[in-house]
């Protein structure tokens, strides 16, 4: 299946992916309306490592999804390889947060938790997840590849 892969040597640390993620999940039609005056809480996070290295971290859609295996309510399920969240069932126990080796499922405002669902649930117009579609340097790509392996 297609997954998000990151190439840290190409990432310029612009954080655009975070803004596009926040926009894609805002339910707004206009980016300016969606983000004006908002402290964004995106499902993808750009990290800074030593030596000016930056890269984006979001859900890996693991072949062994510890979040879904451990979810106490059954709110996290695997649908065609994508780890989806049923916000209606989730009670915000944060078990998944304690189990995800990437820190890719996080607390959310107004809803218990949030995670990347490859822009399948948010009505975003692109066939490619918004972060990958709008990365200016192709440091985030959406392609076929191996399942990442956590730790």
């Amino acid at each position: 299946m297609k997954r998000i892969y990151v190439r840290e040597e190409w990432c310029i640390g612009c954080h655009l992916c975070e803004y596009y993620c926040a926009f894609a999940n805002s339910g707004e039609d206009d980016m300016a309306d969606a983000l004006r005056g908002v402290k964004i809480n995106p499902r993808i996070q750009v990290e800074d490592a030593d030596g000016g290295v930056t890269y984006a971290v979001s859900c890996r859609h693991c072949e062994k999804p510890r979040c879904a295996e451990g979810c106490i309510t059954g709110a996290l399920t695997v649908i065609d390889g994508v780890i989806r969240l049923d916000e209606d069932k989730c009670v915000g126990c944060y078990t998944c947060i304690m189990l995800c080796p990437y820190g890719a499922i996080t607390p959310s405002k107004g809803k218990p938790v949030q995670k990347c669902e490859l822009c399948l649930s948010n009505g975003a117009p692109d066939a490619t997840p918004s972060c990958a579609a709008h990365c200016p340097n192709r440091a985030i790509v959406f392609e076929e590849g191996a399942s990442p392996c956590g730790l």
């Binding site: 295996e69 304690m98 996080t106 990442p148 392996c149 730790l151």
Partner: protein, 454 residues
């Protein structure tokens, strides 16, 4: 092949999904299975005392709180049994197992044959020997908080006037308190008594307890997972919600309306809830000679010491990877993964579950707690505005941690404990302040993020 599963909860669901996954997997040898008796799709029968469609047990407090309802509590969708072709016998209790005849006998005397049997019977409340408590027919009435039926019974008994006494300040006792307690707004914690309307949910029980008193034998709340300092933070948060604690103070007797504690204190109550721990349901197998400690001993594929009999979930012990000890890890993710491994093994695919470890994630009245691994040995504490963090080290590895407050991305710590990565292979100071992948060596990080592609 006929697979019989005793229980209809997390471990049972894990087993069903494990069986069907094994049958679909390439590694599955249909020919071998066929020889072992039957086609490539096992006949699965679930027998359980509980009548309900499989539900998430931890949600019984959320139900009373109004944060979920019976439909959303279902651990799997309504068509789970149909899709997986599972025959259910619900509301039926297994009375004994005959390993020679390979049958289980139900309470009504009927028998069900099996080729492979899984005990996924979980646990029941442990009732301590307290003078006057319900054992005799004239004993004082009490509630327990272990099942949907328990939660409904408690809700039915509860009125705005109820003074509730809970015995036990462990996870179940405190979750029960949260379920029936009043929920105060953040700013109301400083005097004002405005209550939160819980997500405006209709399911919220109208009735909140008038008062909740909790008596606990140990000197602190959540004694099995917290240290003194973190327990004090949690206790103070709970006291602000109006809970009253008697710690280090066991209940010595009850009479139906009042309890006398070890130090002589008398607590009057209308409703008594006993939440003093659980007892694994292991007798069906120990009676026929299965090896056991506190619970059934199995290999990492769930095999008990008896041929063709497996055990998983709260009724089975696990090998805790953090210290190599065999113990009961009575948490839902563990029950699922043990069940799944047992299911696969019963279907002929050995994929041992070798990563069992304690991981707890719980919140009470908005305060989150995350703990994992072993809480012993050398340690360091970080107190920040967002809470309390204590890390435990053993042999230059992160052995465990306790977090109260901000648990965001704490799964990175859990992964460090599980993987036993040496501390000096990462920038631990960085990760201790804020969990992040930047603390890993670039090569390790790339492998984590991109698998084998880069």
């Amino acid at each position: 092949m006929r697979i019989v599963i005793i229980g209809n909860s997390t471990a049972a669901v894990g087993a069903v999904e494990g069986i069907r996954a094994a049958e679909r997997s390439n590694a599955f040898d249909a020919e071998k299975q066929a020889k072992a008796g039957g086609g490539s799709s096992a006949e699965i029968t679930i027998i359980a005392g509980e009548r309900e469609h499989t539900y998430s047990r931890p949600l019984i407090s959320y139900l009373l709180e109004g944060k979920t309802d019976e439909e959303r509590m279902k651990y799997r969708p309504n068509d789970f049994y149909t899709i997986n072709n599972v025959k259910t016998m619900l509301g039926r209790t297994v009375a004994s197992v005959d390993p020679k005849a390979k049958t289980v006998t139900l309470e009504d005397g009927s028998t069900v044959p099996y080729d492979k049997l899984l005990l996924a019977a979980g646990s029941r409340p442990f009732i301590p020997p307290i003078a006057g408590l319900g054992a005799a027919s004239d004993g004082a009435e009490y509630h327990t908080f272990q099942s949907l039926a328990d939660a409904k019974k408690l809700e039915a008994a509860l009125t705005e006037q109820s003074r509730v006494l809970i015995i036990g300040a462990g996870l179940i006792g405190l979750k029960c308190a949260e379920g029936i307690g009043r929920h105060l707004k953040e700013d109301a914690l400083n005097g004002d008594s405005a209550e939160i309307s819980l997500l405006g949910n209709k399911a919220l029980s109208e009735n909140r307890a008038a008062s909740i008193t909790i008596a606990e034998f140990a000197p602190r709340v959540l004694p099995s997972i917290l240290d003194e300092d973190s327990a004090a933070i949690v206790q103070s948060h709970l006291e602000k919600q109006g809970l009253v604690f008697h710690l280090g103070n066991a209940v010595s007797s009850v009479d139906g309306h009042s309890a006398v504690l070890a130090d002589g204190t008398r607590v009057d109550y209308d409703i008594l809830v006993v939440a003093s721990g659980v007892k694994p349901n292991i007798e069906l197998l120990t009676e026929i000679g299965a090896k056991s400690g506190r619970a059934i001993i199995t290999d990492p594929c769930g095999r008990s010491s008896l041929p063709d009999i497996f055990a998983a979930g709260d009724c089975a012990e696990s090998l805790d990877v953090t210290d190599g000890e065999s113990r009961v890890l009575a948490i839902l993710p563990n029950a699922y993964l043990q069940g799944r491994a047992a299911g696969k093994a019963m279907a002929g695919l050995d994929e041992p579950f070798t990563e069992a470890m304690p991981v707890n994630s719980i919140g009470f009245f908005g305060l989150h707690i995350g703990t994992a691994g072993a809480a012993k040995g050398e340690s360091s504490v970080i107190k920040t505005e967002s809470g309390y963090r204590r890390f435990f080290f053993a042999e230059k590895r992160l052995a465990g941690f306790i977090i109260v407050g901000d648990v965001n991305r704490a799964g990175i710590y859990t992964a460090l404990v599980r993987s036993k990565l040496p501390i000096d292979a990462i920038d631990f100071d960085l990760v201790a302040k804020k969990p992040q992948l930047a603390a890993f060596a670039p090569k390790e990080r790339r492998k984590m993020l991109n698998g084998e592609t880069v």
